[in-house]
């Protein structure tokens, strides 16, 4: 073994030659210039500009990744939509509830990497949150009434699932179709793929999960405040994301598309609240009616 002094000292080339003479059978490695030749070729191929070999490799890899089309019936096709990490999901969720500074969710957060993990699990969590919170709020509203029989209403889970998943998939489909149709008529610089629209809609539903949990408390003012707050946040993120895509269009078309987006959002929120969460006041009126009718 070489002494430590030699390990840190710069060895001149004569020593290597001496070592080779002593031990002819030793395995030697010769690093030739072949390795640098393909790098140089790659650096010159895209535009002829002198770049780092690393960035040109990245670019060629990215370009080849977009050209590669995996058939949609293979497992790998869906695996490319799950190519995210924990901090990506966290950033996207936080970005979906924060419409300031004014930005485009797709450009800032998705960056050509839409994922299906976030939308799917946010929708599932929302379905169960609505069902469970609705159940708890019904229980709390009717607490203490003698003729109330507590039933865990499992049918409502399926209804909630249908409503939320159809909102998260059919509305993006319709919006994508509309944008495609308008793109044929008016050449717009911004175009979104279907997966990106699904991703935005999925993450925009994330704000409703804490709002739905807040609806357990049977105070109407609290429910309406949280609905309005959640609507403003998620609606503004959606509108700001799709504004660049429809900006070059007729003002009437632009306003109608954006207002439809906002309106559907409002419908979903208010509909869920009305169907799953009962109001406390009418129950009190009905018991007072019973009291007056019995006397």
């Amino acid at each position: 073994m070489a002494s430590t002094k030699d390990a840190f000292e710069f060895q001149a080339f004569e020593e290597a030659g001496n070592l080779l003479e002593e031990n002819r059978d030793a395995v030697t490695i010769s690093i030739e210039d072949e390795g640098s030749k393909p790098k140089r070729a790659a650096a010159y191929s895209p535009g002829g500009n002198e770049e780092d070999p690393l960035t040109s490799d990245d670019r060629t890899e990215l370009l080849s990744g977009q050209k590669k089309s995996i058939p949609f019936w293979t497992f790998e096709y869906y695996q490319q939509f799950f190519d995210i990490e924990t901090h990506h999901v966290k950033e996207r969720i936080i970005g979906s509830v924060r419409p300031w500074p004014v930005k485009n969710f797709i450009h800032v957060y998705l960056r050509r990497n839409p994922d299906l993990f976030g939308p799917f699990w946010i929708c599932t969590t929302l379905v169960f949150a609505i069902a469970i919170s609705g159940n708890i709020s019904n229980f709390l509203v009717h607490l203490g009434k003698p003729n109330y029989k507590y039933t865990p209403e499992f049918r409502k889970v399926t209804i909630a699932a249908t409503a939320i998943f159809s909102y998260a998939w059919l509305v993006p489909l319709a919006l994508w179709g509309t944008l495609l149709w308008r793109n044929n008529k008016i050449l717009s610089l911004v175009s979104y793929s279907f997966m990106e629209i699904v991703c935005v809609y999925g993450y925009s539903l994330a704000i409703y999960i804490p709002a739905v949990v807040l609806w357990i408390l049977p105070y109407e003012w609290l429910r309406w405040c949280s609905i309005v707050g959640a609507l403003c946040l998620s609606g503004s993120v959606l509108v700001m994301t799709f504004l660049p895509a429809v900006r070059d269009d007729h003002p009437k078309v632009m306003i109608s598309i954006l207002s439809t987006i906002a309106l559907l959002n409002v419908l979903l929120a208010v509909g869920c609240k009305a169907y799953f969460f009962s109001k406390p006041e009418p129950a009190e009126i009905s018991t007072s009616d019973q009291v007056t009718s019995s006397t």
Binding site: E22, N23, F75, Y78, Q79, F81, F82, I84, E85, T86, H87, V89, F117, W121, T124, T125, F128, I132, N135, K149, Y150, T151, P152, E153, F154, R155
Partner: protein, 228 residues
């Protein structure tokens, strides 16, 4: 250099050994066992049925013990089986019956609903972990998720016993504590087995669906109310 010479000395004699290419290597490959014994080792067709069943039951019981004391062992993963999850699922679904289900159609979950939730939920979680690049196989993951329902099934049995005593606030508090503890135990046990198969920057993405799954099952157990 001297040490190199010393190292080569035991092998010095081998440099003379050479096998020329025209001598065929021949011999007789025979296992020094009687042929009937070799058959018995691999075929279980002739054994009595009781022994077959007992062997599977012992494997299932062994895995139950592994869930009770979740260490990072690979016993649950290596020989997976779906008998245990099936037993637990049927037990849980049966225990969730008889809960105001006859009088009202919105009483408790139907037998089929419990099955669908458990199996469909397990399949979706397994697909999720495989899409995120997990190294665990499909049935191994189903096996782990199914076996880790065991604490929740035990909690359901305890809840039914507590509900015999009454449905007041005390019984609700006891049930809440029992269900919360068993839900935590289930989640901890399953992540002890599943978390190793994922890269470290995606562990939370795999653990969250498991958390949601056991939370929903725990909710079903907690809200079970018997018919009066």
């Amino acid at each position: 250099m001297a040490s190199a010479e010393e190292a080569s000395r035991p092998f010095a004699g081998l440099s003379d050994v050479s096998i020329s290419e025209d001598i065929p290597v021949e011999g007789d490959i025979s296992v020094p066992m009687s042929s009937s014994r070799r058959d018995d080792e691999f075929s279980t067709l002739d054994e009595p049925v009781k022994e077959t069943i007992l062997r599977d039951l012992r494997a299932v019981g062994n895995k139950f013990i592994h869930v009770l004391y979740p260490k990072r062992s690979s016993a649950l993963l290596r020989d997976w089986d779906l008998w245990g999850p099936l037993l637990l699922c049927v037990t849980l679904a049966l225990l969730l019956q008889g809960g105001a289900a006859d009088s009202d159609d919105q009483g408790g979950p139907q037998f089929a609903e419990v099955f669908v939730i458990i199996w469909f939920g397990s399949i979706i979680i397994t697909l999720n972990s495989k899409l995120l690049g997990g190294t665990i196989s499909f049935f191994q993951s189903l096996c782990v998720l199914g076996y880790c329902i065991m604490p929740l099934t035990a909690a359901m049995a305890v809840c039914r016993i507590v509900l015999v005593g009454g449905t007041g606030t005390v019984s609700f508090a006891v049930r809440l504590v029992v269900v919360t503890a068993s839900f935590g135990w289930s989640t901890f046990a399953s992540t002890a087995f599943l978390a190793d198969s994922q890269p470290p920057n995606r562990k939370a993405l795999v653990v969250y669906p498991v958390f949601l799954f056991y939370f929903v099952i725990g909710w079903m157990i907690l809200t079970f109310s018997p018919s009066q």
